[in-house]
Structures are given as C-alpha cells and as structure tokens.
C-alpha cells in the first residue's frame, strides 16, 4: 500500500519534464519545424538553472534563466533551418551534439558539476492531500501544479486564438499562409524560441527541482523520449500530457521496485523507458490513423519564389 502511494506520489515529478518538453516540441512542430534538438536544449536548461541557482539562489530566476538560455541556443537552430534552410533532421542532431559538448565543458570549467542545491519546498493541496492512497499526488513543488495550467494555456492558444490559427496554418500550408500575408519565417522563429524556452524549463526542472545537482548528460535521453511522445500524442497537448504521465509512471516505478527489494538487472531497468518508447511507436504506427494530424509542412523549409 505504502509502495503504491509513494509510487503515485513520485509520478508527477518524473512526468513534468516529459510534459513540458513535449509541449515545447508541439509548439515548434505545429509551425512546421521538425525539432529533434530537445535533448540538447534540455541540457542547456538544466545547466543554466544550476548555474543561476549557485550564483543567485532564487528558484524563479534560475528557471527563467534556464528558459532564456535554451531560447538563445535555439537561435542557432533557427539560423540553420530558417535562414540557411539546412535539412531539419541534420540541424536537430547537430544541435544535440553541440549542446552535449558545450554543457559538459561549461559544467566542468565553471565547476558546477556535482554541487547540490536546495530544492523547492513542496506545496500541499489541502484537503486533497489528505486522501488515502492518492494524497501524495497533491504534495508537490509548485511547478508540478503549474504544468497542467501551461498545457491548458498552450491548448487555448492553439485552438482559441487567431495567432494560434495562424501558427497552425504556417505548419500546414506555408504557401497559403504566406499568400494570406502571414510572416511564415516570423511565426516559425517565434515557435522555435517559445518551444525552446519550454524545453529549457523541462531541463531546468530536472536539475534544479528533481535531482538538485548538475552532472554531464544528466537528462539521459528524456529529450528523445519527448520527441517520440509528441508523435504518439499526434501533436495534441492533452494527449502529450497523458503520455508524459504514462512515462512518468514507468520511471517512478523503478526506484520503488528497488526499494521493495525486487532485484532487476540495472541495465534492464535503465532500458525500460526506451523499450516502452519503441513499443508505443510500433503500436501507434500500426494503428489506423498512423499519419493523422501530422502538420502538413513538418520538416519542409519554406521558400517563397519557387514556381509550382
């Protein structure tokens, strides 16, 4: 009983980075830009958050700086895909490798590695926190409670605002959007920056609020899982949140099993999220609506003066 309560209580902590990163990816990809660089941007966010925390000691400022740092680095990606029109897959992969190297180097040079920071005090949602079994779900840090609100905001933006409509038009048919007078590159740039900020926030969450220290490559492939999650969720924020909870559940289960004395090979345990990712992808791909809802112009650079 205790184990299940603990497990459920830990799930949101694992789910939030997935949800935030997937949300950032959805924003970017709905504008037609294939964003594979999430893993790299999460690392940038994670390092920036710890660095800022060691320097200033304010969680709010640190998380904002994590978002800002990821957005600044994503300018490089925007330059590659929007201005130079480099293949978006290559640009995304290059961004990941670049960020892995950069954060590893800076973490060592600035001596931010392995320095623990103080986490954020948990907030209790009374009286929900008194519930049997589910109570621990409602004792979380503030960002956990904010995540569904951020999802709601993104959904509202995409479906209930004219700007969101334009963003989706840019991702579906940039030629049509252009003819309607919408700045395709402007919207794509904004989508990359805001998406990167959310991904950076996801990274900052991991280092600052979850593990509470920086180690090189600490995101451990969560950015890639988020990329898969977006495909699994068919670019829908609510489905992405559900998927994030699913993956959070699985990740949270591993330490619980270990604590309960279940002996599993360590590498098998570490493999689980990826195995589940693969399984989910296969399941989605074999479904009936395999390509449904994918933004029509995803991954295709926009050039105006091409005759058709």
């Amino acid at each position: 009983m205790d184990m299940i309560a603990n497990w459920l209580g830990n799930t949101p902590d694992f789910a939030v980075p997935f949800a935030l990163a997937a949300l950032g990816l959805i924003l970017t990809e709905r504008a037609g830009v294939l964003a594979l660089g999430a893993e790299g941007l999460m690392l940038v966010g994670a390092l920036a958050a710890i660095g800022a925390q060691l320097a200033y000691g304010s969680h709010g400022v640190s998380l904002l700086l994590a978002m800002g740092a990821a957005a600044v680095v994503s300018l490089l990606f925007a330059l590659m895909v929007l201005v130079l029109r480099i293949n978006q897959v290559i640009a995304g992969l290059a961004l990941v490798f670049f960020c892995q190297g950069l954060t590893g180097l800076l973490g060592t040079l600035l001596e931010w590695t392995n320095k623990p920071v103080k986490g954020l005090a948990a907030v209790e949602l009374w009286p929900l926190s008194e519930l049997p079994l589910l109570g621990k779900l409602f004792v979380q840090n503030p960002l956990v409670f904010m995540t569904p609100l951020i999802v709601l905001a993104v959904v509202w933006f995409l479906t209930r605002t004219t700007t969101g409509l334009r963003l989706r038009a840019v991702g579906e048919n940039p030629q049509a959007a252009d003819a309607a007078g919408i700045s395709v590159l402007g919207y794509r740039l904004a989508a990359i920056l805001v998406g990167a900020a959310l991904i950076g926030l996801a990274g900052g969450y991991i280092s600052l609020l979850s593990t509470k220290l920086w180690i090189a490559d600490m995101t451990g492939g969560r950015g890639w899982i988020a990329v898969a999650l977006v495909i699994f969720a068919r670019w829908s924020p609510w489905k992405a949140l559900a998927g994030a909870l699913l993956f959070g559940c699985i990740e949270a289960l591993i330490p619980q099993l270990a604590a309960a004395g279940v002996r599993l090979p360590q590498y098998f345990v570490l493999m689980t999220p990826y195995a589940v990712t693969l399984a989910v992808m296969i399941w989605v791909a074999s479904g009936r609506h395999a390509t449904g809802n994918q933004p029509g112009a995803l991954g295709i650079p926009f050039i105006r003066e091409e005759r058709r």
Binding site: R160, T161, T162, L165, R166, R168, A169, E172, N173, Q175, A176, A177, D178, A179, A180, G181, I182, S183, G296, R304, E305, E306, R307, R308
Partner: protein, 525 residues
C-alpha cells in the same frame, strides 16, 4: 473615378534560375473595368500577377496603385492596398474549416466591428458574414465545412470570399473558369463583372477567348514574357486574338468519324460511399470500345473524381467491376500490370498524382518504364538512354520551359507539365487511355496538341475515355458522350450531340446532389 488607373505595372522583369519569365512587361487596369490578361501557358501571366499581388519581387520595373508608386513587401502589404488574388492553385489550408481559412487572410484592426470579443465569437460572426457575402454573390457555402471535403469549384468560391472579405478592391483571378462548368463559369463572370461595375477593378487571367469576348472591357495580350498589346475585345475578332496570343494561326484539329472495334472495357455497376455519406457512385455502367473516344460530361462533384480514381487505380473504396477484355477485373491489376497492359492514365491532378515534383524532368519521364528494365537492370541505371529518350519526348511533345532535363518537374507550368505526363503515358502505344480534365488550365495550342494525341491514340486502335467538366472539350473530342449525374451515367449521346439536350441531362437529376457536393480527389499544391 472610372478613368483613374487602379494598378499600373511598367517595365517589369523577373527571372527564375536564369529563365526570363517576364521581360519589360507593362500592364494597366482601371477602376470599374474587367481587364482580361490573355496568353498561352508560360506566357508570364501568373508571374506578372504574382508581382502585382506582392508574392514575387520584380527585378526591375515599377508598380503604381492609384497613380502612386508603391513597393510591396509581401501579400500583407498588397492586401493593405486592397489587392487580392485568387490563385490558380488554391492557397487553402486543407484541414481548416472555410471560416478559419478566411479568417487567416483578414486584416486585423479595431475598425473592423465584427471582430471583437473572443476567438469563438469572432469565428461565429465571421461565419455569418461569409454566408451573407456568399448569398450576395449568388451561391451558398457552409462556413464550418472542412476545406478538404469541398469540390474544386467550392474551394474556388472560398478563395473569392476570402479576398473580398479581406477588403479587396483590385481583384485578380488566375484562370478562374478552368475548373468550372459552363453554368458555374458564367455565374462567376457575371458576379465579377457586377463587382467591377460597383467601381472595383477586376483582372481576369485567362486563355479562353470566349471569356474575353463576353466579359472583358479591355484585354491585354501576353506572349513569351512580354505584353504585346492592349485592346478592346469588341473591336477585335477571335481569330485576331488567337493570332496575337499564339503568334501564328492556331492549329485546328479536323474531326474524323470513329471506326469502333470490339468492347475493350466494361464498367459494371460501380458503387461507393462519398465523404458526405450519400453515394458518390450509384451504379456507373458503361462500355468502352476500341477505336473510340468516350466522353463523360457533367457538373463537377457528381462522381467524376471517384470514377476517375477507380479507373486509374488510385485508392477509392467501391464495389463493382471493371472488365478489361483479355485480362479480367482491372481493379485487381497492380501498377506494374497496368503498365504491361499498356494502360495510359492522365489524372486531373498533375502535380499531385501524375508527377513527382521534386524529381527531374527526365526521371519523371522514365519512371513508368523503370520496372520493365528499359532503363537498366536492378543494379544499373542507363542514364544516357533515359536522357536521350526524355530529350526526344520533350521535343516531340513540345514541352516548353525545360531549361535542362535535370530541372525539377515542379518548375514546369501547368500546360507543359501536362505535356510531359502525356509524353510519358503515350510512349508505349497504349491500348486503353484514361484521361481526367486533360486540358484544365491549358492554352489553345496545348489543348489542340493534347486533343491531337488523343485522336492519334484512337486511330491506333486504343479505347479512350475522357472525363471532363468542360463541356466544350467533351463535345469537341468525343465520339460518344455519357452524361454523369448523381453518381450514374444518366444519358448517352452519339456524335453530333445536341448541346442543349446534354445540358438538361446534366442538371435534371442532380437538384439534391448539387447542394451537397462530394469530396474532390484533386489537390492543389
């Protein structure tokens, strides 16, 4: 106000990859007139109008609006000067509703009273405005429908509503009647003329002489990227206009009666469900004989697209059989078998279904025969042979605008893309030819060339089936005509057919179907 120039382009030049699409073109449209821009495919009409709509930046030349020099930074800028363009290949976001598509193009601003409140409220208000405007223009449209599910004619109406609701006073229509039936085209042109009489300027890009003669106040003729002359269509004869556009007298094809042979294709009782639930095909039955051209006429959205898809082997769920003499049910034939059976298919959607835009001209030509081993085995591509034959076909079928065989097929203009498709499909002496809207968007000369090819195929003993929403084309081509309405062949006519009788057969059975049209397979980008 009627003497004031609405828009004036002078000395405009533009090139694509070193190819001069426009050189020193001049064009002026006045307020209150319908001004036709006439020319062949690739004459530069669309390029010139894309510059007027702010989509392309000219390399040289000037643009004056209301006699003031302006420089358009983009389509939004053009819309600020009340310029709106309906493109030949529609610029619609397919998964969006009609209202959402229109909202995208609307300028923002507090001055627009209907656009306050929440997004939902604004959409609802806009839906009302769309219905009102549509009623004002004399048609009806459901603003909540997903654009993808509309027929081509309806999508065009969405485009027109879009630019008018965005406040366009200079309306540019690029080949608007190419996708419409006689009646629809007539209504559209009446509508735009009335719009011009209210003081707006309408520019009608076309290659149809009859549109020019009947609806234009002035006409500017373009040829080879230059504007040749601007004249009053009432004072010039059709042959003279043709001579100006083509540069020489147009080739006319002489009709020779058919000598039909045995039945080659038996279509039996094709039935399918359309997107809107009611039957798209309601039991199509027809016999196609060797050595004849069978034309299918009808108002768009009466099952022609679905029939074309079934015949050409494109995905289309339906029941019924297609019995090809000497083979069996054609619906079971793979694409490879279809090639072996020498079946030529020319779909309506050139860029989507007939060509791979990103591949080169030569590759597009050779793709049909790659499997047969003509261009090398599994391990080898006989590029020399492929390019030699492609070059020969490009010359033989008069495909213009090919700077290099390695150039992307997407860069070809509509008529030349069609010629390339025909060159490929006819390269193997077909026994069965299936054609959908073959001359949509094609000029006089290209249309004549396409028709000559179809006749040549007939003379060689092929069975030819032509599905077209252009009644003139069906009348000019077909030895027998089947009228399609409500997903069935409702009447058949032998040549010479009575136009009036066909017209009444087209509309007599479709009162209900016309109001609720069926999804069109063709896509436009």
């Amino acid at each position: 106000m009627s003497n004031l120039n609405a828009i004036q382009l002078s000395g405009v030049s533009k090139s694509f990859d070193g190819f001069m699409a426009l050189s020193q073109a001049d064009f002026t449209a006045r307020w209150g007139e319908v001004h036709a821009l006439l020319g062949e495919n690739g004459a530069g009409k669309s390029s010139l109008m894309n510059i007027a709509a702010g989509l392309y930046a000219p390399e040289s030349g000037s643009l004056l609006i209301n006699d003031n020099a302006v420089r358009l930074s983009g389509p939004r800028d053009a819309s600020r000067y009340h310029i709106g363009m309906v493109h030949q290949h529609f610029k619609l976001v397919k998964p969006f509703t009609v209202a959402e598509n229109i909202q995208l193009a609307l300028p923002e601003g507090p001055g627009n009273h209907a656009f306050s409140g929440s997004h939902r409220q604004r959409l609802a208000a806009l839906e009302q405005r769309i219905s009102d405007k549509a009623a004002e223009l004399g048609f009806s449209i459901d603003p909540r429908k997903i654009t993808e599910s509309l027929s081509v004619a309806e999508q065009q109406r969405v485009e027109i509503l879009k630019v008018l609701l965005a406040g366009a006073r200079i309306l540019i229509l690029d080949e608007p009647t190419a996708v419409l039936t006689d009646g629809e085209a007539e209504r559209l042109l009446e509508t735009v003329r009335a719009f011009a009489r209210q003081g707006a300027a309408v520019i009608l890009v076309t290659h149809k002489m009859s549109d020019v003669k009947r609806f234009a106040d002035r006409v500017t003729v373009m040829r080879g990227g230059r504007t040749i002359q601007t004249l009053d269509p009432q004072t010039v004869s059709v042959p003279e206009l043709v001579r100006l556009t083509v540069g020489e007298s147009a080739p006319a094809s002489e009709y020779q009666p058919a000598i039909p042979g045995e039945v080659r294709l038996q279509v039996r009782n094709l039935r399918s469900k359309g997107a809107s639930g009611h039957g798209a095909l309601n039991g199509v039955t027809l016999n196609l004989r060797a050595g004849e051209i069978y034309g299918i006429a009808g108002v768009g959205g009466n099952g022609q697209s679905e029939l074309a898809n079934v015949l050409m082997g494109l995905p289309e769920p339906c029941d019924g059989t297609l019995e090809l003499t000497g083979f069996g049910d054609l619906r079971r034939a793979s694409a490879e078998q279809r090639r072996e059976l020498r079946i030529a298919a020319i779909p309506a959607d050139r860029y989507g279904a007939a060509l791979a835009g990103e591949l080169s001209v030569a590759e597009n030509f050779g793709v049909g025969q790659v499997h047969s081993g003509r261009y090398g085995s599994f391990f080898r591509l006989r590029r020399k042979r492929l390019e030699a034959e492609a070059a020969e076909a490009v010359a033989g079928f008069d495909v213009q605008g090919v700077r290099s065989l390695k150039q992307k097929a997407a860069l070809l203009s509509g008529g030349n893309a069609q010629k390339l498709v025909i060159a490929r499909e006819f390269s193997r002496d077909p026994q069965l030819v299936l054609v959908h809207s073959p001359s949509r968007g094609l000029d006089v000369r290209a249309t004549a060339a396409v028709h000559a090819r179809l006749y040549a195929a007939r003379e060689a003993g092929a069975a030819v089936l032509v599905i077209s929403e252009d009644l003139d084309e069906v009348l000019a081509l077909a030895d027998r005509i089947g009228v399609m309405s409500g997903g069935r062949i409702v009447a058949e006519f032998d040549r010479p057919a009575d136009r009036q009788a066909i017209g009444s057969a087209m509309v007599s059975h479709d009162e209900q179907d016309h109001a609720e049209p069926v999804a069109e397979g063709a896509s436009h980008e």
